[in-house]
C-alpha cells in the first residue's frame, strides 16, 4: 500500500508520463468519467445499508421524541439530495480513494485522474472546496493540495480496477482517537477487554460532535500511522457483514450493543441509537506497543465503490 504525500499534476506529469500498456486505459476519457460518476454519486446518495440502518433507528425511537424528529429530517434530507442530485451534506469532507488495480499500472497516472475529477466535481458543486494550506491558511479552491485528496493503492491479480471512495467529513474526523494500552485512567489492559473499554470511552467523548448515530472503524495493533489508515479501511465494510475473525465479530457486536445503552442518540441530543455499526480490524504490533485507533464516521456515511473493466465499462459494486 502506498500513500502519496506529494502533488504531481499538469506539466510535471506530462513530462514524466509512464509509457506502459495498462496506463493507457487510465488515460482514456471513459476512465475519468467513471471516477467522476463515483464522486457525484457518493456525494449525493447514501449506500443502501446505511439508509436501512437509519430507517431502523428511526422506527425504534418513540413517536414524539426529539430523536425521531431528527432521524426523520435525516431521511428527508436523503430523499431530497437524491432527487435534486446535490450533496447530502455541505461538508463533502476529504475525498479518500482506495484503489485496487492489476499489475503494471502507474500510480501517478491514477492519482492525476483522481485529482482532475475532484477539480471538476468541485467546479460543478458536488464537492465543497476543502483543501486548506495549514501554513498560509489559504483554501486551494479546487480540493487539490499536498496529500489532498487521499489516494491509497493496492495491487491485486484481477483485471478490473476497483475504486472505493469515502468522503470523510471534518467534524467526525476531529473526534477520532488513538489509545496506547495500557491506559491507567480507563483500567484498560493489553487485551480485547482493554480495547472494549477505550472504544466505549471514545464514543462517550465524541458524544454529539461527530454527528451520531456514527459508525466506528477500529484498528487494533499496528504503528500509529498505519493504525489510522487501517481504521479507515474498516469503514469500507458493509454494515451488515460479519467479521471473519470470531473474536472480533463478538467484540464488534458487544461494543455496538453497549454503546447504544449510553443514550447519546442522534446528534447527541439523547436517544436509543448512538452507533449504526462497529468494524474492527487487527494488524500485528510491535512487542512494546498496543495501539487502539478509532476513526469516527458520521451518520451520513458516504462511501461507494465502482469496478472499471479494461474496456472502460464500469458498474457500482457498493
Amino acid at each position: 500500500m502506498t500513500v502519496f504525500g506529494h502533488l504531481r499534476i499538469g506539466r510535471t506529469m506530462k513530462k514524466t508520463k509512464v509509457q506502459c500498456v495498462a496506463t493507457n486505459r487510465v488515460d482514456r476519457p471513459v476512465f475519468g468519467e467513471a471516477v467522476f460518476d463515483l464522486v457525484r454519486r457518493t456525494a449525493c446518495e447514501l449506500p443502501a445499508d446505511v439508509e436501512q440502518a437509519l430507517r431502523r433507528a428511526h422506527d425504534e425511537e418513540a413517536p414524539d421524541s426529539t430523536a425521531r424528529m431528527i432521524l426523520a429530517s435525516f431521511l428527508e434530507n436523503m430523499v431530497l439530495a437524491g432527487e435534486k442530485q446535490v450533496p447530502l451534506c455541505q461538508d463533502t469532507g476529504m475525498p479518500l480513494f482506495f484503489v485496487h488495480h492489476p499489475p503494471g499500472l502507474s500510480h501517478r497516472a491514477m492519482r492525476r485522474v483522481c485529482e482532475e475529477v475532484v477539480v471538476r466535481a468541485t467546479r460543478e458543486e458536488y464537492l465543497r472546496p476543502n483543501a486548506v494550506d495549514p501554513v498560509t491558511d489559504r483554501n486551494s479552491g479546487n480540493n487539490v493540495g499536498k496529500g489532498f485528496p487521499g489516494v491509497y493503492f493496492e495491487e491485486w491479480d484481477n483485471d478490473p480496477i476497483s475504486i472505493a471512495l469515502m468522503l470523510k467529513g471534518g467534524g467526525s474526523e476531529n473526534v477520532g482517537r488513538q489509545y496506547s494500552l495500557p491506559d491507567d485512567g480507563l483500567s484498560a489492559g493489553r487485551d480485547l477487554e482493554g480495547v472494549r473499554r477505550v472504544v466505549l470511552d471514545a464514543v462517550r467523548r465524541a458524544e454529539g460532535k461527530g454527528c451520531p448515530p456514527g459508525i466506528l472503524g477500529i484498528c487494533i495493533g499496528a504503528d500509529r500511522g498505519s493504525g489510522y489508515t487501517h481504521s479507515k479501511h474498516q469503514l469500507l465494510r458493509s454494515l451488515d457483514d460479519v467479521n471473519p475473525n470470531p473474536a472480533l465479530a463478538d467484540l464488534e457486536a458487544r461494543i455496538l450493543r453497549e454503546a447504544n445503552t449510553l443514550g447519546i442518540g442522534p446528534l447527541g441530543l439523547g436517544g436509543k441509537t448512538t452507533l449504526l455499526g462497529v468494524k474492527i480490524g487487527a494488524l500485528h504490533r510491535h512487542p512494546a506497543s498496543f495501539f487502539v485507533t478509532v476513526t469516527y464516521m458520521c451518520w451520513e456515511h458516504r462511501r461507494r465503490e465502482i469496478r472499471i473493466e479494461a474496456d472502460g465499462t464500469y458498474r457500482f459494486t457498493g
Partner: protein
C-alpha cells in the same frame, strides 16, 4: 414548533426553554471559524479607528445581528448568471468558536446562535447575561437546511476567507432547530453529558 422571526425580542428569548423545537425566519448570516476570529480580533478588539472596509463591515453586521442570528455553517454555494444560491448547508461544530462567541453575542446583540454539538460555559453565561439562545441544527441534513435558506442577499469576505468561511447574508424561512442552551442558564448538553458519564461508568464497572 415555535416560530421565531428576526428581529427577536428579549421576551421571546426568555419564553424559550432547552428542548423547544423552533423554526427561524428572517435575515441572518453564516459565519464559522474565520468569521469569528476576524470579528473578535479586528472588529471587536482591533485597534481603532477601524479601516474604512472594516467600518462598513461592522456596521452591516450590527444591523443584521441586532436581535438576529448567526449560523455556524460553511455552505456549498452555486452561482448562476451572477446570482448566488445555497446548495447544501448544514451546521458545523460550534465548540471551535467557544473562545469568541460570548464576545460576539455581547458586541452585536445576537439573540440566536445556530450550530451543532453545543457550546461551553462561556457561551452559556453570555446567553444568560445578554438574553440569547443556542439552537442546535440538523447536523448533516445539508439539503433540508438549504431549502430553508431561500435567498442569498450578499456576501462579505469571500475572497479573504474562501467560499465556506465567508459571511453569507441570507433570508431564512422556517429554518428548523432545537433550543439546547437557553437564556435561563440551562444547557441540555451539560445535563445529558452527566447521564452519558454515569452510563459509561456502569458499563466499565460491568467489564
Amino acid at each position: 414548533m415555535i416560530e421565531l422571526s428576526i428581529p427577536i425580542s428579549e421576551e421571546q428569548i426568555l419564553s424559550l426553554h432547552a428542548g423547544d423545537a423552533v423554526a427561524i425566519s428572517g435575515i441572518a448570516t453564516t459565519g464559522r471559524d474565520a468569521a469569528h476570529k476576524y470579528m473578535v480580533d479586528h472588529l471587536i478588539e482591533g485597534p481603532r479607528p477601524l479601516s474604512a472596509e472594516d467600518q462598513r463591515l461592522i456596521e452591516e453586521l450590527k444591523t443584521i445581528y441586532r436581535g438576529g442570528a448567526i449560523y455556524h455553517s460553511g455552505p456549498i454555494v452555486r452561482n448562476v448568471d451572477g446570482r448566488w444560491s445555497i446548495v447544501s448547508s448544514g451546521p458545523t461544530t460550534s465548540i471551535r468558536d467557544e473562545i469568541y462567541e460570548d464576545k460576539v453575542i455581547a458586541a452585536f446583540g445576537l439573540r440566536v446562535v445556530i450550530g451543532k454539538g453545543g457550546m461551553g460555559p462561556r457561551t452559556l453565561a453570555a446567553c444568560k447575561t445578554h438574553k440569547a439562545v443556542y439552537v442546535h441544527g440538523m447536523g448533516g441534513a445539508g439539503v433540508t437546511n438549504a431549502r430553508a435558506m431561500v435567498e442569498v442577499l450578499d456576501v462579505f469576505k469571500k475572497q479573504e476567507f474562501g467560499l465556506p468561511e465567508a459571511f453569507w447574508k441570507i433570508r431564512f424561512d422556517h429554518f428548523p432547530g432545537i433550543v439546547t442552551m437557553d437564556a435561563h442558564g440551562r444547557s441540555l448538553h451539560e445535563e445529558l453529558g452527566k447521564t452519558f458519564d454515569d452510563r459509561l461508568a456502569a458499563l466499565l464497572r460491568s467489564g
